[in-house]
Symmetry: none
Subunit: 410 residues, 2 copies
C-alpha cells in the first residue's frame, strides 16, 4: 500500500506549529507494512491542496490528510477532496445530532459549525470524542482518502481506536525496527567491519545512523506478523554482535551511562571521577541512572590547577613539567583517586574546550590499579566537545572493564 | 520570494527521526518576509527527489534542501540537483583540505569521504564547523537551491552564521523576533505582571511561551528593514524590563549559567558547588561557559552520606538528626564550603530524584557568608527534576547576588 501524508495548515508553513502528526502517522503506517513515499505540508489554500491531492492519487493508494476539518472558511480539506473525486458533500445525521447536543440547540452556533457535519457521500465517518470535527474515509476506484483532525490530542485517539482497525484489513506485512548502539568506532571504521552485512541484508535491512550523538545500526524486518519480525531481527542482531562485540554497548534507547551502570552492578565495582574539562558532566550522567548510588559515592570537579593539587593530590611539578593538559596529569589524577579513595574504577579528564587547542583532551581510565590514558582530538563547539569527551570516556571505561574481566576469567 | 523546503531522508519517512528542520526554516523564512508555500519530505530516492526538485523549481524562487549530504551511497541530494540543472560536480579545494586535516591524512578514510567535498560548479560553499559535510547554494536563471545538512546541530549554526546574511539581500519585509528569558516567576505570576502589555501590543506583538524548560516572552516586530524592526523591539523590551526587572535573566539563546557567569565576572566573585541530587550538573553547566575558570576552581559531587562528611565536613549528627534531604544539611553544606574553601558564592543540593518522595529537594545558597535555603517540590522524571533543580539554583543564586549587591551600593 503506497501512502502519501498531507498536513494542511498555514500555521504549519509559518512555523508557528510543529507538525508532529506526520511523523506519528509515518510510524503507524510502517507498523502496518504500508510504504510512505512522500509527506507534504501545504497551507489552507484550495488550489494548492487540490493539486497535491490530484497528483497524490495518481501515485498512491492512500492519501492521509490532517487538519482543515474545522468550521471556518479556511477549512477546505473535505470539500477540496470531494471536488477532486467528483463527489457531493452530504449532511451526516449522526454528526449533526452530536453538534446540536454540543451547542445546546443554540441555532446560531449550530449553523456556524454545520460544515463539520458535511461529508463526502458514501464516506465512513469516525466520531471525534475529543473535539467537534468528526472525520472520515472515502474510497474511489480502489484509492482512498482519510481525513484526520489537526490537533494531535484529537487525531491520535481517533487513529488508534477507530481508524487503525479499518486499515488493518489492507495490511499485508508487519515492519519492526530495533537499533544496536555503537561506541568508540568511527562511522567509517564501523562501516568497514559490517559493510558486507549491510550490503547483503535485504530483510531485515541494516542501516547505519548517527542519532543524538550516538552511532547506531538500525535493523528493520518485514514479516507477516510481529513475532516473526522479531525473530528475524534477533538473528541479525546476533550476526552483528559477533562482528562488533563489545563495541555494541546497548540497544534502542539505552544510554552509555546506563550500560556502564550495568557493568558496575554486574561486577560490583565502585567508581569515581575527577573532572577538569568535563566539569562534572560524567558524574552527572552517571547520577542520572537510578541505583548508581551503590557504586558512585563521590566525585571531584578539579577545574583549576590548584584544585588538582589540593583536592586530589596531583603533584605541582607534574603540572609544571608536562603542562596541565597532558597524559601525565590525566594518569596521575587516576593514580591519586586509587590511592586516596580506594575505588575500583576511575575516570579523569583534562583538556581544552576552547582556544587554539580546543578539542585536545586527555582522558585517564583506571580499573583495579591498571591505568591507561587516551588522547582525543575532537571538533565542534564547547559543549559538544565536553559531551563527546564524557560519552567517549564512559564507553572506553566500559570496554576496559569488560576486556579485563574477560581476561580475569581465563 | 517563494520558497519550498525539501527534507531528504528515508529515516524521516519511516518516522524514525522527527523532522524539526523544516519548522525551524519556516520560522527563519518568515523573518525574512519570504513565503513558504510547501514543505515536502522525501526518502533517499533519486527519481522521487529529482521530480520534486524539477517541479519545485517551476513554482518557486528558492528550494531549500536538508539532509543527504553525507559520504554514503544513499546521500544523493547534491548530485540529483546538479543533474536537474545540468551542472557538473567539482571538487572544492577548501573542503578537501579540511577533510584531509580532519582524517589526519588517512588516505583510506579521505577517499571514503571525498563525496562530501564535491559541489555543483559555481556553488557558494559554506563551511560546516560542526561536521564534515560542508554545504552550498547554487543559482540558475534566477532560481536558487540551498543545500543544508540534516543534523539540526549542524544545520542551525550554518544557517545563522553564514546563510542568513546571504539571503537577507533578497528580503523585502522584515519580521524579527527576540525573546526575554524569565526565571523563578511561574506562568501565572508572570502573566499577571505583564498582561496589559501583552494585550495592548500589536506591532511588536508580545507572547509568552515555555520553551525547553525556559519561560520566555517573545517580541515580534514587522518593519521595512531590520534596523527599524530592532528599534521597535528595543522599545518594547525596555517596557517589559521595567515591569519584570531582575526576573529577566537574559535574551534569546542566553542560558541561565551564562547570566550567572556575567554576574560573577562583573562583581569578581568566586563560586563552588557541592552537589548531591544534581551530581555535578550545576558545575558542568557553569563549566560550559567559556571563561568561568577565573571564578570556578573546584566543585564536589557528594552523592553519598559518607562523602558529605569526609569530603565536605558536614557533621554526621546533622544527617542523623534531620535526615540527609533536609534544610539543615543543605545549609551546612554551604557553611562548610565557606569555611573550607573561602569562596564568595556557594550552591548545595540534596534531594530525592526517584522513589516516593521524588522531587523533594533542598537547595542551599550562599553569598559572602549569607546563607539561605530553599525547599522545592518538583515533578517529572529523574533527569528533568535534576535539570530543573540546577536551573532554579543558578537563577536563585543570581537573584541573591544582585539583591545583595544593590543593597551594598546604598
Amino acid at each position: 500500500m503506497k501512502v502519501q501524508i498531507i498536513a494542511v495548515g498555514t500555521e504549519l508553513l509559518l512555523g508557528d506549529t510543529l507538525d508532529t502528526n506526520s511523523n506519528y502517522l509515518s510510524i503507524k503506517m510502517k507498523e502496518l507494512g504500508f510504504d510512505v513515499y512522500k509527506r507534504v505540508v501545504v497551507g489552507d489554500n484550495y488550489d494548492r491542496l487540490f493539486k497535491e491531492i490530484e497528483e497524490g492519487l495518481k501515485q498512491n493508494d492512500l492519501i492521509i490528510t490532517t487538519g482543515g476539518l474545522g468550521p471556518t472558511e479556511d477549512d477546505i480539506t473535505k470539500k477540496c477532496c470531494c471536488d477532486c473525486l467528483g463527489k457531493e458533500m452530504v449532511l451526516n445525521e449522526k454528526s449533526y445530532a452530536k453538534l446540536r447536543n454540543y451547542f445546546n440547540e443554540d441555532e446560531k452556533a449550530i449553523q456556524g459549525n454545520i460544515k463539520q457535519c458535511m461529508f463526502p457521500e458514501d464516506a465512513i465517518v469516525f466520531e471525534n470524542f475529543n473535539g467537534t470535527a468528526d472525520c472520515a474515509m472515502i474510497e474511489n476506484n480502489g484509492k482512498r482518502i482519510l481525513f484526520l483532525p489537526g490537533p494531535p490530542a484529537e487525531m491520535k485517539p481517533i487513529y488508534e481506536n477507530q481508524v487503525q482497525q479499518v486499515l488493518e484489513q489492507f495490511a499485508t506485512d508487519c515492519i519492526i525496527s530495533e537499533t544496536l548502539n555503537i561506541s568508540i568506532l568511527g562511522e567509517w571504521d564501523m562501516n568497514e567491519r559490517v559493510k558486507d552485512i549491510i550490503e547483503s541484508s535485504n530483510n531485515p535491512t541494516v542501516a547505519p545512523y548517527f542519532k543524538k550523538d550516538k552511532r547506531i545500526l538500525r535493523i528493520t524486518a518485514k514479516a507477516c506478523d510481529r513475532q516473526t519480525a522479531l525473530k528475524m531481527i534477533d538473528a541479525k542482531k546476533k550476526e552483528l554482535r559477533e562482528r562488533l562485540g563489545m563495541y555494541i554497548f546497548g540497544e534502542n534507547d539505552e544510554t552509555i551511562e546506563e550500560s556502564v551502570y550495568k557493568v558496575l552492578k554486574e561486577y560490583d565495582l565502585s567508581i569515581m571521577t575527577s573532572e577538569s574539562i568535563t566539569g562534572g558532566m560524567i558524574a552527572s550522567k552517571l547520577v542520572n541512572v537510578s541505583g548508581v548510588s551503590d557504586y558512585l559515592k563521590r566525585s571531584l570537579v578539579v577545574y583549576s590547577n590548584e584544585a588538582k593539587v589540593d583536592l586530589l593530590g596531583v603533584k605541582a611539578e607534574t603540572i609544571d613539567t608536562y603542562g596541565v593538559v597532558s597524559e601525565n596529569v590525566a594518569f596521575e589524577m587516576v593514580e591519586r583517586m586509587f590511592e586516596k579513595f580506594g575505588v575500583d574504577c576511575a575516570i579523569s579528564t583534562t583538556g581544552y574546550a576552547s582556544g587554539e587547542n580546543a578539542g585536545l583532551v586527555y582522558v585517564g581510565l583506571g580499573y583495579k590499579n591498571v591505568i591507561k590514558t587516551l588522547k582525543l582530538q575532537l571538533h565542534g563547539e564547547r559543549n559538544k566537545i565536553r559531551n563527546r569527551v564524557s560519552n567517549r570516556a564512559l564507553a572506553e571505561l566500559r570496554l576496559m572493564i569488560l576486556e579485563n574481566v574477560s581476561r580475569e576469567t581465563f
